[in-house]
Symmetry: D2
Subunit: 387 residues, 4 copies
């Protein structure tokens, strides 16, 4: 098995995008708990995100959500980010919080509403132009709750049309990234429920349209790493939304529910050439309901890093030999050997060698930043999914 130092150069390639909305409040339909110090505007969210990067060196980019992150001057926001050592990244559209979109947006039967939803995406591309973002990420919250309520086929056709209109406006160096989700907020059907649908839709658009895989958006029991493999093989894996789940789309800390699954996913990323590949963006989509926000994100990016290190440690030569000789137990043992290796001490050293704190969680806690924001951010409305 390789040693951690053997894979150090590869570790240095890792960059994980943070979602701005992780620094506002979020919760469940039953309650959104607030917490002291929560950011009140996009500038404060980016300041918080920059803390994650400061202590981990892993999170140099922050994804925006429009209109939650709408500001008067995106140039100012961009400068603010760059001053703090991070960049603005993926722009996420939102067509699920306007009364007009109650029964659909890009798929709506009413052409006026579809146009409104398309125009929103064109404005998002304007934002991308201003922020220098490459990716427009579309998560469709659309679907229906009752059998018969909607014409599944008509909606799919309208979706194709709407996406084509948006895609026309995507710049040469930009991409349209289409996320799929099994269910929620729609409960009978969602218009892009699985990777197959997203793949079919983006394939019809063209080369700059790709799929986003959110690790929490699958049916129970789905072998997610298989999908990773397949999308890489088909050249259509554009980005990840990492988080973890026990049941539905729980949006928990990455790796919290099933660390071994995270390992298997990252192994397939490496196997399929998706690591250190600018075409495959690593993002988090984790939302904090009960834990502190900034350390929660730190934990997530560290978990991604630790599992990436383990995935890089797999002795692929020995693995291939065992696989080819039909040695079931042997191949599994080689794979597990990397998973069970404790990479944490080695990563602490690696961090120090790069001027980062050995223990980012402790360093953040000791920094006083949390106390500072709890003291400073008094008054105003805390940011949340609704604003």
């Amino acid at each position: 098995m390789p040693h951690l130092k053997d894979v150090a150069p590869q570790l240095a390639q890792q960059a994980i995008e943070l979602p701005s909305w992780a620094f506002g409040n979020s919760g469940t339909r039953f309650k959104v708990f607030g917490s002291a110090g929560t950011a009140r505007d996009p500038f404060e969210k980016i300041a918080d995100a920059a803390q994650v990067h400061r202590y981990t060196g892993l999170a140099p980019v922050v994804a925006l959500h429009i209109p939650w992150d709408t500001v008067e001057s995106f140039a100012d926001l961009r400068k603010h980010a760059e001053d703090l050592g991070v960049q603005l990244g993926t722009v996420n559209s939102n067509t699920f919080q306007d009364d007009d979109y109650k029964l659909g947006a890009l798929t709506h039967t009413d052409a006026t509403i579809r146009r409104k939803a398309i125009d929103h995406h064109l404005e998002c591309i304007d934002v991308m132009d201003a922020t220098g973002s490459r990716d427009l990420k579309i998560w469709l919250a659309e679907g229906s709750n009752y059998p018969g309520q909607a014409d599944l086929r008509g909606r799919q056709d309208r979706l194709a049309e709407s996406l084509a209109t948006i895609y026309e406006r995507i710049g040469e160096n930009q991409r349209l990234v289409l996320e799929y989700k099994f269910f929620e907020p729609a409960f009978y059907h969602t218009d892009v429920p699985d990777w197959g649908t997203s793949y079919a839709q983006v394939s019809a658009l063209g080369e700059r349209a790709v799929v986003c895989l959110d690790t929490g958006h699958h049916a129970p029991g789905t072998n997610i790493e298989f999908i990773v493999m397949q999308l890489l093989r088909l050249g259509k894996l554009g980005s990840f939304d990492f988080n973890s789940r026990f049941y539905a789309d729980d949006d928990l800390i990455v790796g919290a529910a099933d660390p071994f699954q995270l390992f298997r996913i990252l192994f397939e990323v490496v196997r399929g050439g998706g690591y250190g590949n600018p075409d495959v963006a690593f993002m988090l989509d984790q939302c904090h309901n009960i834990e502190q926000k900034i350390p929660g994100q730190i934990r997530s990016v560290l978990n991604v890093q630790e599992m990436t290190a383990r995935a890089l440690l797999v002795d692929t030569e020995a693995l291939t030999a065992a696989q080819e000789s039909g040695d079931v137990l042997g191949a599994n043992a080689i794979f597990m050997d990397a998973f069970y290796t404790d990479v944490r001490p080695g990563l602490a050293e690696w961090r120090e060698s790069r001027g980062l704190p050995a223990d980012p969680m402790k360093a953040y806690a000791a920094s006083g930043y949390q106390q500072q924001i709890e003291t400073d951010r008094v008054g105003g409305a805390q940011a949340s999914w609704g604003a």
Copy 2:
């Protein structure tokens, strides 16, 4: 197979309790869509609920949720209800919307918070005394999101203690009803996740403690009618929360997702002596996100009635004979025969014979009530889960 008229006397026994909160707004964590005419206070909610009963004759009771339905005078609310031909029913407690309860209420490690949650339940019993309600329904939104976050065993023991304290205060003619739920809003564990836990907890309390089965609160693939059978057999099925689900706790119209499952459940209710039995309360727990509220409830109670009729139509003598002779296909055919029977024309007749409209949905639509409330209820804050 019996004819519908043979079972008419049994149909007359049906009474389904409506949840007051169904008449306020509810939704998903992404968006709560409002709608014109939504009730703004408990009085208006009860007025709306009374409409459901008016057109169906099936829904003479309205369940309350405290504090959402807190009013200055419960005596006034009771009189208001009675004037409109309905009664106040089950009182539902709420220990999931106060910041203190972020990490637990009846199970919290902090005795002060536990006491606060217990006291809330004692106040609910005061409300019950004022409203004449029999049942205190406890749905525990408690649990944890991360492995290690909480001591599962300690919480279970504290739950037992807290429930015992509440139970002591339950009157001779009152009951404590403990609901279970697989997940949400907690994502790693919930403190009462399954019928077994609810059964073990209420068995330890005493005779007036029983289980509430919400049809949307189970793991995928769970055979719910088996649980109905088992709880009836054990004498601990206190009430139902009817709704339907495709994925998680979708809270859709009863029977909308799997009408055959609803039939099987109602068959076991009848089989086990739970029908026409005051000890087994039928309630809805359906929340309207995108459809109109009052007709949505009308549809749900009609669906329960139609499936009950089908369940009553099963030729149990022939069924038993087929089961005992090992005739697999024959027994299944007898069972399906009742399910596939179209009871709707017979029920329309039955309704008319009782002075009710043949088609309650149409009658409500024609009544002008909806237009009236949309005109009248202008200003004020629409009721919702948060108020």
Copy 3:
């Protein structure tokens, strides 16, 4: 809503293919129960299958499984079938019961074993040429049980290669039909686990390669009718394997577990132009473990017919109007109206008008065929999955 007679011409188009293996014994890993009268060879299986068609008029074709149905002369088998009023249909290959295939067949790392598996398929095409069959159906039982055991990506690439070699030999009027399955017999990954993978693989082959959707082969909660819609939209739905399931791949009588789901699937078939369309083959893949085999198949084809009738009864004009006006409850009601309609009396009449028995189950029971085969088929080995 249309009347049943309005859709009678469409009903006459229905033809459902029966699996020969349904007339041999099958079971679970725990026990294969035998039953008196079970067919002992392909000729007897076809005789039994012909009974299903005789009493229903719905099942004029019998699918073969090679090598289970290998006979000395397929010309003789074909004549035997035609004499009994049925035709030989889809040929199913088998690469899961030879020791060589323990770790894979078309995906195996060993080129010799891959070649053996490819050659088996070429022999199947020879059988098709002899029987006049159009479709070669490939269900891949391949996959792995343990993470690391196999190289997911390498297997996918080898699969593509193997399929391409087989596809080359497919005749101008023949098709390669690729089935997908979520899990079993492999437990960690299967090589074609979902429609997306099957779609990607057949798309790479060409026009005469299509997807087979087995209704029991999906993750819990999957919206199957959505997949039906999507594959029809993409022009790649080649055939159905109908059966039903509560948990895994239970292979129960069609419609037994969730009749409403069967209705929704058939509605999408009709909606998407898949009904009365020779490019979309209806097959059963139901296996009898505890019930009588011939009446079990009769029940299944009747269930498909009854649900097809209901699907055809949907008032699509009114439905479209309700959908377009955003009338959620109204659209759902129109849809459910067809589902709740009891089509059985009308279908009995329709059958009689075509010289078929009003009640095929009863007619078969009265025919004495079952008693005859139980008396005649003494000695010899009953057919089963292993032979």
Copy 4:
């Protein structure tokens, strides 16, 4: 966090029972692959099981399955086992492979068949008396495939009666252990589908009746460690059947699918006083389909040991403090710290200090035993589930 040596005394208490049937062939309904050297009778199975203990020191007991392990003299079998350094353990009954049991055994409507099934259990108790076994384990393969096929309630009542008759014969130092299983081989309902049912049934019997928890027998998403906690709390956790699963009851190597889940389960065992407690038996129920049998069992017991070590390493004092202070991230971190610790080097040392090989897998491979049995065991019928 404690060091591995701190927990060494506790590690010495570990004893895991092996299933005799793991040393015969098993498989899926599609194929049972044989393998060279497979045991042909109970004596050979026990010889193979003894190998697992020889190299790990963890598996001193072998569970029997009747009638698969029926021998002329159980005294001889017992002596054979003791000569090889192992003991005979739990006796498992079998009421699922006789034609009489096709529709039920202990729950059958026919009293004669129920009596036959009861008598089989009484014979199993005779075997226990001869072998010195303490536990009679009952896994009920009973249930139904179709709604209506069976009277769920009647079966439950008959089950209670049958179990009571068996329980009467259970000796003072013996126990009746009732396993539950979500589904399979029955597909609509199983008579003991969940822990609640098993708990209710054994509670009605008496103190010497307890529950067996098979880690593969739950609905998707079930929090198994919660059930462990609850059954320990209620004093009814009698034994474990360890194995792992991705989808259904896959019977894979323990910890192969979700090592973190295994850790959480073992943590609750320790937390609830179930470790080092003779009342809670650790067994494997893992069946080898494609991998070598003896090393497969070695891997499983080692996985249990490694996870037990990690569970013992949790700093429970710090954990409690974090839990009580509401430090969500802190408590989770303490918990994960133990999980991520690589205990393998320490366990290798610990093994050597006790005269065991540092690497049991390698030691077995080097021993020549496998080659020996492959050479010696020629002719005869390999043992399997059917014999």
